[in-house]
């Protein structure tokens, strides 16, 4: 089987936060490659550096040392303007707290992104992909948590991003709703071929990914490939 090209590559990444006199090393020399179309789960306890890595990969934060290359292009030294464009054109984010705009309906929240993207799908298509075709004109306040998170996923993928970064997307949801959300993510990965990184501290959830990166104390301790991906509905929660 040919190895798919590398989409995103991190080399020797470290991140040190200074708070007053204290230095906290959130990442210590992390190396990771994300291949085209694959789904990687980042697994580890709170504070092990998963989110820090995700934020750096997504252009929300900068590493203290090390490089990040996106399709061979170094983005670790890029300026604010370049990072904004990188996020706008290539990255989709899904967070634990959905971060929808309360004053916009589901359709409008998605349109927010499609209006500024180069080659988006329609907001309606994006919402249909996550099973919300019937809730187009509802405001966030009128949607359940799971529905809000699916709107967030639709908003993240509507621009057809190269990478979808999900930071504990089910952290605030019960298992049934959570599975529905994971199904939406898996479907996007499968149907659009979007490279997906998924943070979780639920070991069972990692079974739906192609590979699992285990985090501890700001470093990746090992990377394992799953021989087969488990469907979200069959996950042990």
């Amino acid at each position: 089987m040919p190895v798919p090209p590398i989409m995103l590559s991190a080399r020797n990444l470290s991140k040190i936060y200074r708070s007053g006199e204290v230095e906290i090393a959130a990442l210590r020399g992390v190396d990771l490659d994300l291949f085209d179309g694959e789904m990687v789960a980042l697994l580890g306890p709170s504070g092990s550096g998963k989110s820090t890595l995700l934020n750096i990969l997504g252009g929300l934060d900068r590493a203290t040392t090390g490089t990040v290359t996106f399709r061979g292009q170094d983005i670790s030294a890029a300026g604010e303007r370049t990072l904004t464009a990188y996020r706008r054109d290539h990255v989709g984010f899904v967070f634990q707290f959905y971060n929808l705009i309360p004053s916009l309906t589901a359709r409008e929240n998605v349109s927010l992104v499609t209006e500024i993207a180069a080659d988006p799908m329609t907001a309606e298509d994006a919402l249909a992909l996550v099973g919300l075709e019937a809730r187009l004109d509802h405001f966030p306040a009128q949607l359940s948590g799971g529905e809000q998170q699916r709107v967030a996923i639709a908003r993240a993928i509507a621009k057809r991003p190269d990478i979808l970064l999900c930071d504990e997307p089910t952290g605030a949801l019960d298992s049934r709703t959570g599975i529905r959300v994971l199904e939406a993510i898996a479907q996007v990965n499968r149907e659009l071929g979007t490279t997906t990184a998924l943070i979780t501290h639920n070991a069972g959830m990692a079974a739906m990914a192609d590979r699992v990166a285990y985090f501890a104390d700001g470093a990746i301790v090992r990377v394992e490939a799953n021989p087969t991906r488990t469907a979200p509905s069959d996950l042990e929660w």
């Binding site: 929808l100 004053s103 929240n109 349109s111 004109d137």
Partner: protein
């Protein structure tokens, strides 16, 4: 209770830290609240200082209570006046007007000259000698000069002034420089503003002046002091009765004395100003505190729940947050105090220069400061009350749950517009405004009020122009007005027409009168005009010239209001000159003038009533502009002229004085309304940033640029600012007309002139101030911590 102490102290520490965290908003509130209170303290302080200074000066200089002018009364009459019950002291004087030939002035200047006793200090209306010494009895040409006039010409003791005293040229020697309570404010005859270069006061020894004016053993002016509790009206009547047969023109009380009357008018205007601007600022400050308090309570909600869960009572929680709000007002109150005290001293000094006081008493009343603090904290408490009530009424469990996302609704607009008409950021702006209509309305009102203050202040310049245009170019079209010392035969007026450059001459006859209608009575000058005046003529409300009626009187609307008469009503006119006839004349027409009061009739009717040959008190002249210099140079040689008023100098003096006093006020208003806009907009922008930081950070994560996010943050404020402009212009129009009404005095009523240009400049200034303050907040978008915002729940 002792156990609760440390916890309370922690609450206070929390209060301190909360305040520090809110410092930017506290700053905005301090700016607005402080400006309002500073103006209040400044105005009240200046009013108090002017009143105190005036009272002290009057007291020390033994300023008279009653004044009377008479044609010529024997000195022996003084004893009779002293016997009038209630009269404490009497001082007779000789008073005249002299023409001055001043170096550097083409036209003649003029001065009031008042006699002073040669062997003792004046019993009443004493002078404060500022320089030099008193005139000596043996030197009849020695005079004291009023300080303002002396300063304007750089004159000092030992210098000389060429004058025409009662038709005779004299060279007067300056013995000293003095100030008098009688001339705190000096006005040239027929002018609207002081003109210290062309008009002055001087004092001369009684014998010297009596000799020059032919009043030896007689007087033509008398001032009286009353004992405490004296019946002023009775004294006035008795003085009138005593002076009547000697040509008395009617005694009048101190409040009608020109200088005092102006001073009172000025103080009254200041009192109007003292309340208008602060009211606006304090209302806006209350609203700013209200918004800040609401936001704070929303942010604090979980803490409130926690405090209550720990067992804090409603009262403690309520007091804590109320204390926080009051503490937010504290910097504003302090700013108001210090700013007001400093501004008060400054403006009082300005007034002291404008008026002529020998000293200045500036002792701001502690009560004013307490009042300002009370108003400041009251505004804060009023603004905070609803929010604090909300804090108190929160149930602990409810309070600790984060607030649900605010519910929005699709408006009519978004349902009817085809999708895609408005982009989503614009939709966010519109929905946010619609979601909080009260707050949006308050923000708009705050900005509108500052726009209104600008309209109010900027319209003064065109208003003054309108006033001058009406007074000096429409009503009084003459280039010069010459006044004689006493009524002269008409041929003297014909002589004037032979002066170089004179194109037209029109005589007028003016007599002092008492006008009475019912129980209302006024001392005025009645002006008699030719049948069809061409130069100076009253205008009606529509601006059409009016000819004096063949029979009867024409009054200004203001005078008619004061006498409570209208066309058709009969007014009793007691003429205080000549054979002193009493006439009963119907009011035939009403004239509209912005300046002064006036009563007019036809010359031939007055001559007939006075039973005299045609005479004139003076003349209006139209002069060829090219020969103006030659004309004014010759005026100095005309005998028996009491004064010459040139339109060009009167207009110039008016503009100069206005430029000095009013432009300072305009500057003030513009600065303060800039602060108002800045305070309101930056406060709103900060609140928006705090409330919507999460939303804006989400957009940045989605790849929105800083500019696009700034559009969402400031677009709403821009829209509210735009909505405020027409509202502000409308409020400004109302304020300008209200102020014109409130500040109008008997002397002049400045019309409100709100031109499109005024509105345009006001709008531009508001937009600039709003943009600056909005952008200063927008810089913080760059510092949004995207990661932190998104990792935490609201």
């Amino acid at each position: 209770m002792a156990r609760a102490r440390p916890v309370v102290s922690v609450l206070w520490r929390k209060l301190g830290r909360d305040l520090w965290a809110l410092r930017a908003q506290v700053g905005a509130i301090a700016l607005v609240l402080g400006s309002g209170l500073a103006v209040l303290i400044m105005s009240l302080g200046a009013i108090r200082a002017l009143e105190d200074t005036r009272a002290a000066f009057y007291d020390r200089a033994r300023f008279a209570d009653v004044f009377a002018e008479v044609r010529r009364a024997p000195e022996a009459l003084a004893a009779r006046l002293a016997q009038i019950p209630g009269v404490r002291a009497v001082e007779t004087r000789v008073r005249d007007r002299v023409l001055l030939d001043l170096p550097g002035l083409n036209e003649p200047g003029s001065a009031v000259v008042v006699s002073i006793p040669e062997d003792h200090r004046p019993r009443l209306n004493d002078l404060v000698l500022r320089e030099g010494r008193w005139p000596r009895r043996e030197a009849p040409d020695e005079v004291l000069l009023g300080e303002a006039f002396a300063e304007a010409h750089g004159l000092h003791p030992g210098d000389t002034v060429a004058a025409v005293v009662h038709g005779r040229r004299r060279v007067l020697e300056v013995a000293g420089i003095a100030l008098s309570p009688e001339f705190v404010y000096t006005l040239p005859p027929g002018a609207l503003m002081p003109d210290d270069r062309r008009n002055g006061v001087m004092w001369m020894g009684r014998h010297a002046l009596a000799a020059a004016t032919g009043l030896e053993g007689a007087f033509n002016s008398v001032v009286l002091a009353l004992s405490r509790g004296a019946d002023e009206a009775a004294v006035l009547a008795a003085v009138d009765a005593a002076l009547d047969r000697y040509g008395g023109t009617g005694a009048y009380p101190r409040r009608d004395q020109t200088s005092d009357w102006f001073l009172s008018g000025e103080i009254n205007q200041l009192a109007t100003l003292a309340w208008v601007l602060p009211s606006i600022f304090l209302a806006v400050a209350a609203f700013l505190i209200n918004i800040a308090a609401n936001r704070l309570i929303a942010l604090e909600q979980p803490h409130i729940g926690l405090l209550k869960a720990f067992g804090f009572g409603n009262v403690q929680v309520g007091v804590h947050y109320l204390a926080l709000m009051l503490a937010m007002a504290l910097p504003g109150v302090l700013l108001g105090w210090f700013g007001g005290a400093a501004l008060g001293r400054w403006i009082t000094e300005l007034y002291a220069q404008f008026f002529r006081f020998p000293f200045l008493i500036y002792r701001p009343d502690a009560g004013v400061f307490l009042l300002a603090a009370g108003i400041g904290f009251g505004a804060a408490a009023a603004g905070a009350l609803a929010a604090v009530r909300k804090a108190v009424s929160l149930r602990p469990a409810e309070a600790m749950v984060p607030p649900a996302p605010p519910a929005y609704r699709r408006s009519f607009l978004s349902r009817t517009l085809p999708p895609g008409t408005l982009d989503q950021p614009t939709m966010m702006i519109l929905r946010h405004i619609a979601r909080w209509p009260v707050r949006s309305a308050l923000t708009t009102s705050g900005i509108a009020l500052s726009c209104a203050v600008l309209v109010l202040s900027l319209q003064w310049a065109p208003s003054i122009d309108a006033l001058l245009e009406r007074q000096f170019f429409q009503e009084n079209r003459q280039d010069a007005t010459v006044t004689f010392l006493e009524a002269r035969p008409l041929r003297v007026v014909e002589d004037l027409s032979r002066l170089p450059g004179v194109l037209a001459v029109e005589p007028f006859r003016a007599v002092p009168v008492r006008l009475t209608a019912g129980h209302r009575s006024r001392r005025e000058a009645l002006t008699a005009l030719p049948a069809r005046p061409g130069l100076a003529r009253p205008l009606d409300t529509a601006g059409r010239p009016l000819d004096p009626p063949a029979q009867g009187l024409m009054l200004t609307t203001t005078l008619a209001e004061l006498l409570a008469v209208g066309p058709g009503d009969v007014v009793t006119v007691e003429v205080r000159e000549g054979r002193r006839p009493t006439l009963h004349l119907p009011v035939v027409a009403l004239a509209d003038t912005n300046i002064g009061l006036g009563a007019w009739m036809r010359q031939d009717a007055l001559w007939a009533a006075l039973d005299e040959a045609p005479t004139a008190s003076g003349a209006y002249l139209a002069v060829d502009g090219a020969r103006h210099a030659a004309f004014t140079a010759r005026l100095k040689d005309i005998p028996m002229v009491a004064g010459v008023m040139l339109r060009s100098t009167a207009v110039g003096a008016f503009r100069d004085t206005m430029a000095e006093t009013m432009m300072i006020m305009v500057g003030f208003y513009v600065t303060f309304s800039g602060m108002l806009t800045f305070g309101v907009v930056s406060n709103s922008a900060r609140i928006a940033l705090s409330e919507r930081g999460r939303e804006l950070a989400s957009l940045r994560v989605l790849g929105f640029t800083e500019g696009e996010v700034t559009y969402i943050l400031l677009g709403e404020l821009a829209l509210l600012t735009l909505a405020a402009l027409p509202l502000g212009a409308a409020i400004g129009w109302v304020l300008a007309h209200g102020m014109a009404q409130a500040m109008g005095t008997e002397l002049y009523r400045i019309p409100a002139v709100v031109t499109p240009a005024v509105m345009g400049w006001a709008a531009l200034a508001v937009v600039v101030a709003a943009a600056l303050s909005g952008l200063s907040v927008a810089r913080r978008i760059r510092r949004l911590d995207l990661v932190a915002v998104l990792k935490t729940r609201e």
